[in-house]
Symmetry: C2
Subunit: 345 residues, 2 copies
């Protein structure tokens, strides 16, 4: 199964990124600081959009940069681009081919903004459009549902946050990620056993917050792409503003809750979901006490700081989705109705 092979390649790809791309990204970060951008305008779709959401949180938290996620249709359909001269304009795309993302970068450059592409394909249209390029170097991704290019995108985003923060400790923390991802992969046999109990579900909710809101979004997308199960992601804060109404007895709620600033809320939510709503909770956490509060808890290493846990936490979520697809008799390598490169205008 190609999807599973590519998931397993992730530690080596992340190590390779650090070995080959960190220094060039350091130069780019120095340039951004010199050009005094006021905010970031970031365009991405699908899985890459979740790397954008990660950027929204950690570029804000570590580097003080507000991040606006672009509405590409303003550029393509409505021909009414906003002013971007004081922005850092970023395009993230595995293939570098989506014309709408390319147009956002082109318009930013036309207006004199600092522009950067983050792609896995050198000399792609997106890379050609941008002033600066960050390569993912993840090798060809053959499975339609992205895995290794997603974690490589997260690493690029994390590295930029660390470099812009001006803290050596933050940059140092990046080097612990490949090994932590290797530990996350050790969950594969346990996940292989556990997924069998979830083959009957029609839909589920996936909850994360703060730095790991992106993880919830990406997990939900993987579930839809490879298992065809309706999975919807929420921030725990938004979840309480309405959607919690739909949870009934026996419903599956998947939660990403590493130790850190968001954990207290999750402890309360776990009680509500399990005791009051009688929901079935699947939990990914790096808290070895919390993991035992649910029957289906998966422990990731606690060796990375909270802002880097999205790279380790998505790994069991990728495995869960792909192994469940296998248990359902589906082929996660080429889901129905999807192609690897989607061109939207």
């Amino acid at each position: 199964m190609i999807a599973l092979e590519e998931i397993r390649q992730q530690p080596d790809i992340l190590q390779g990124w650090l070995d080959r791309q960190l220094e060039s990204t350091r130069k780019f970060a120095a340039e951004i600081r010199k050009r005094k951008v006021e905010y970031v305008y970031l365009a991405a779709r699908g899985t890459s959009d979740h790397a954008g959401i990660y950027a929204q949180y950690i570029w804000g938290a570590l580097a003080g940069l507000p991040v606006a996620l672009a509405a590409p249709s303003l550029f393509t359909l409505y021909k009414a681009a906003p002013k971007l001269a004081r922005a850092l304009v970023v395009g993230i795309s595995q293939s570098g081919e989506s014309p709408d993302i390319v147009q956002v970068i082109q318009e930013g450059r036309r207006q004199g903004a600092v522009t950067v592409s983050i792609t896995n394909v050198e000399s792609s249209p997106l890379e050609s459009a941008a002033e600066y390029a960050i390569h993912l170097g993840a090798g060809t991704e053959r499975a339609v549902a992205a895995s290794k290019t997603y974690t490589a995108e997260l690493m690029a985003v994390a590295a930029l946050a660390a470099l812009l923060s001006g803290s050596d400790a933050n940059v140092q923390a990046l080097h612990g990620v490949p090994d932590a991802v290797r530990c996350s992969l050790d969950l594969e046999p346990l996940l292989g056993e556990k997924v069998a109990a979830f083959t009957g579900m029609d839909n589920c909710l996936v909850i994360g917050r703060g730095f790991n809101y992106c993880t919830a979004r990406e997990w939900a997308l993987k579930m839809k792409e490879v298992t065809y199960i309706h999975a919807e992601a929420y921030s725990s804060a938004d979840f309480l503003h309405g959607p919690i109404a739909i949870v009934g007895g026996g419903d599956v709620v998947m939660i990403v809750a590493p130790a850190g600033r968001t954990e207290k809320d999750f402890v309360r939510l776990l009680t509500t979901l399990q005791d009051q709503k009688k929901a079935r909770v699947v939990l990914i956490t790096d808290d070895s006490a919390l993991v035992h509060s649910v029957p289906d808890g998966f422990l990731i290493p606690d060796t990375t700081p909270e802002w880097l846990t999205p790279i380790t936490a998505i790994v069991p979520a990728q495995l869960f989705s792909v192994l469940l697809a296998g248990a359902l008799g589906l082929n996660p390598d080429s889901p129905r109705g999807l192609s690897k490169v989607t061109r939207t205008l």
Copy 2:
């Protein structure tokens, strides 16, 4: 049924807003232009977040302002607010009470940004925190699932777009909205008949794009809040990047597709969904030809320009959700597990 009464009040509330708030908003718009903001940083949750998404599109398209939707947890949980000095910082909240939204405004003001609240409750904490206040004046909203405060929020956002655009024609177009909403309400008897065929569904997808992406999001939230049906919203562009995989025969897909820049894409999507996927399509449009391409099409008036259709298009969606709840024997006035004011930190 209170929910239905409040939906029917919308034309009068919108007219009242124009009569009482448009002039004070004009003064505020002049002030924003004078203070030379570079971009907007907007905080909102739940239904109000959908008014924020509307702002993201039309403040971009009509006024050239990039809009960043805030990540409030940066302010509350992580204590790491980004720099906001050159931003217009906006908080939208029906109750004006959510502490996280208040904190975003307080921080913006502390940093010297222009701050504005859009709320239905005068002297609420949010209003007290902001330099400028825009009142909704929608009267007390008693149904837990918002309707009239949502369309009033959209009107406030639309008015600001029109005033900042500097075009008298845009401001003039606002005055056509109350009557157009009145026409949308005429769909109630037809919707009342049609919903009976949808009582058996467990989940559905809601698709909109561009200006009406907010409508898709709000429709999906209404469905969840009052019918407890899993409904997930997508931009048609993102939908093709993965989630279309989950659509199977007999699945319900709800589409908001007024005539305009996005319509061509929807014509193609309708064919794919109906002919290839054998999905059941529910359609809201102002195109009298397109409406007949599906068995369950609902025609809204074509008297408003595309950028104002989110105010008319949400009305049949509100009615659909509330009438379907009634058909399911549920009480849409107070859904299980929800309270009117949600306080998140």
